[in-house]
Symmetry: C2
């Protein structure tokens, strides 16, 4: 593949926390890593060279990519045309632009699952709000349903549940996927990795608990409470997906276990993922090092689970905006098994992801107790 | 202590591999960390802001330190007068300049052990080669003996064994410590940590195997083969030393177990240390995060040993000098439990420390087998 191994120049589109943690992993092997991000002093700036530019801008991505040997992503909403051109110019681009194009569009994603007979909730693709109204009148869409924008959704933005007629004025007037609302029993995520040679490694599934309104991950536990069969089923789905989608790198798969016991694919992200942050402390190979192994075509590292873990997102406290102040850090560090990651975002906003905390231990009961204690102590605020 | 906690500006004298790994640990908490180092693109440059300057130069250290809240070190041979002045100016300096002054001088170190009745080999302090010759004539010094320069020794430089009269022309003609050569059974290192509030944590001792001629660490194992009593004795000595030397930060203690079963202090270093690199993967708290906890006066993290480990130094292959080429990386990464750290030194030289590899596992036999395999596969060479 023309890879220069550890001497490759690696360019990452996006320099947020995922880019930062990828750069931290790259530092162990002294990799030459750069990120493209428009934010002054983006989080990844601490451990990677930052080029200021917009990863959605064709010219910015092209110019950035031409300086690299390998181009990868930490966010999927990037300029696809520039990536295609970079590939044409002989650069290595992971994931492949065609796979990324499929995933960038939640409509195409759902059609892919249907085409490959992979389990996912029932859905219909719509053009705009008028189209949705028509389908409701024709009894093709029934309440409650979920509307997801086909493009540019991220961290729960662009996703909403419409429970009844009175909420229809909230509809996004854009191309969307309308999904039957699943009666969710559990929300699960699983992380798969695949290198250029096709070697695949699947991490153990994790269970996620979301914020009831902000649709942001609050809490995640690994191993999860799925039974052995369910866990195998989830891992097999991840294996099938990463192969059929032809992903080189990581693929995070979010799934539902519904109340009838069905496992349904919700959506995927072809990059390091929030649901895999526990791998830094709880697994022999972190998702970040694994992603590097994938794109450098190195042998993959073991993905087993060493220890019980709970991952908490550290979100900006509601009611505060401004320069971030972290409360409770010292108290949390006094507890065994607590690993704090602060992303270095200058400004906090309500519910903004400012960091995460992983709590590990041999005893799940201890881990849960400490996690509860940590979530009570730690806060991100700002001067009012 | 006027500490600003995680908002402190931390300045490190030295930007080699120890500074680099300290900066990597600092990135988890988004600490503001800078290093002072004269090398263009010093290893720490990847994850810390580098100020170019000489850590032995009064003006350079003073100017650098004035921009910081907390000043610490990754090498003990730094300008002490500047550190004293920075302390006088209200900066936090760890370790304290008085403790550092004691340790910089191996003569004072030995006198300190004698004064505090701490076990160490017999020694005599000499001014120069003539002085040594006189003491030999007076039968005060007997062959074989060890000559150590009082100042500026590092990684075995400035240390030599004089076996017999014919070797006397090798004598350093400088102020030195002459030590009785110990009949070494085992070489041991132990790492202690102490925060500003006085909390102390001691890691488990490790056993070291040195290169027979270059006096560089080749191989280190943890836990080591000391019996429980010996291990306790070593840990107690480390506890006593870090307290009596009034160190804030890490103190690495190197010791001998002699053939009669005596434990003798060899020397100490008040900073992160080669013998503690396994703590990154094998302990809940790496020595680098622990050092940060110390100087920020955070509660210390647990220092217990999670897993068996062997640490190999990756040394420049004899016979090669020039831009470093790493051979065998991929083959080693195919083995479970292998963690490679490359320091990013552009140029390799015979026996130069270019990186280290930690091999971890539950089974000591497996770990030893993999370590042997790794040491055969991996090499740092250069184009001839």
């Amino acid at each position: 593949m023309g890879s220069k191994g550890i001497n490759s120049k690696i360019g990452v589109l996006g320099g947020g926390q995922l880019g930062k943690m990828l750069a931290q992993a790259a530092a162990d092997w002294n990799l030459d890593i750069s990120v493209l991000d428009p934010t002054p002093q983006a989080p990844a700036n601490c451990c990677a060279k930052q080029v200021h530019g917009d990863f959605n801008n064709y010219d910015n991505v092209l110019a950035f990519g031409q300086q690299q040997d390998i181009i990868t992503i930490e966010i999927e909403h990037v300029n696809l045309e520039a990536l295609k051109e970079l590939k044409r110019l002989g650069k290595e681009v992971y994931p492949d632009p065609s796979s990324l194009g499929l995933i960038q569009d939640k409509g195409l994603q759902k059609l892919f699952y249907r085409e490959h007979q992979l389990p996912t909730s029932e859905f219909i693709i719509v053009d705009n709000a008028v189209h949705i109204h028509q389908l409701i009148e024709q009894n093709i869409i029934a309440f409650p349903f979920v509307q997801k924008l086909r493009r540019a959704g991220y961290d729960g933005r662009g996703v909403q549940i419409i429970h009844e007629e009175s909420e229809l004025d909230k509809l996004f007037n854009e191309p969307s996927v309308i999904e039957q609302k699943v009666a969710i029993h559990k929300e699960i995520a699983v992380l798969a990795a695949r290198n250029i040679s096709g070697e695949i490694m699947i991490y153990d599934p994790v269970e996620m608990l979301f914020h009831p309104t902000a649709n942001l991950l609050l809490y995640q536990e690994c191993p999860c409470t799925l039974n052995g069969d369910q866990s195998e089923q989830v891992k097999n789905l991840a294996h099938t997906l990463i192969e059929k989608m032809n992903i080189v790198g990581l693929l995070a798969v979010e799934l539902f276990l519904d109340k009838k016991g069905n496992i349904l694919i919700n959506e995927v992200a072809p990059r390091p993922h929030n649901s895999g942050h526990h791998t830094i402390e709880a697994c022999p190979t972190s998702q970040f090092q694994q992603h590097l192994r994938c794109i450098l075509d190195f042998p993959l590292g073991p993905a087993l689970t060493n220890v019980h873990s709970i991952l908490l997102n550290l979100l900006g406290e509601p009611g505060y905006q401004g320069e971030a102040i972290y409360e409770g850090i010292e108290e949390c560090l006094a507890l065994d098994g607590v690993y704090i990651h602060l992303y270095g975002k200058k400004e906090t906003k309500p519910m903004r992801k400012m960091g995460h905390i992983t709590i590990v231990g041999k005893d799940p009961v201890y881990v849960k107790k400490i996690a509860t204690s940590v979530s009570e102590k730690i806060k991100v605020i700002a001067h009012l």
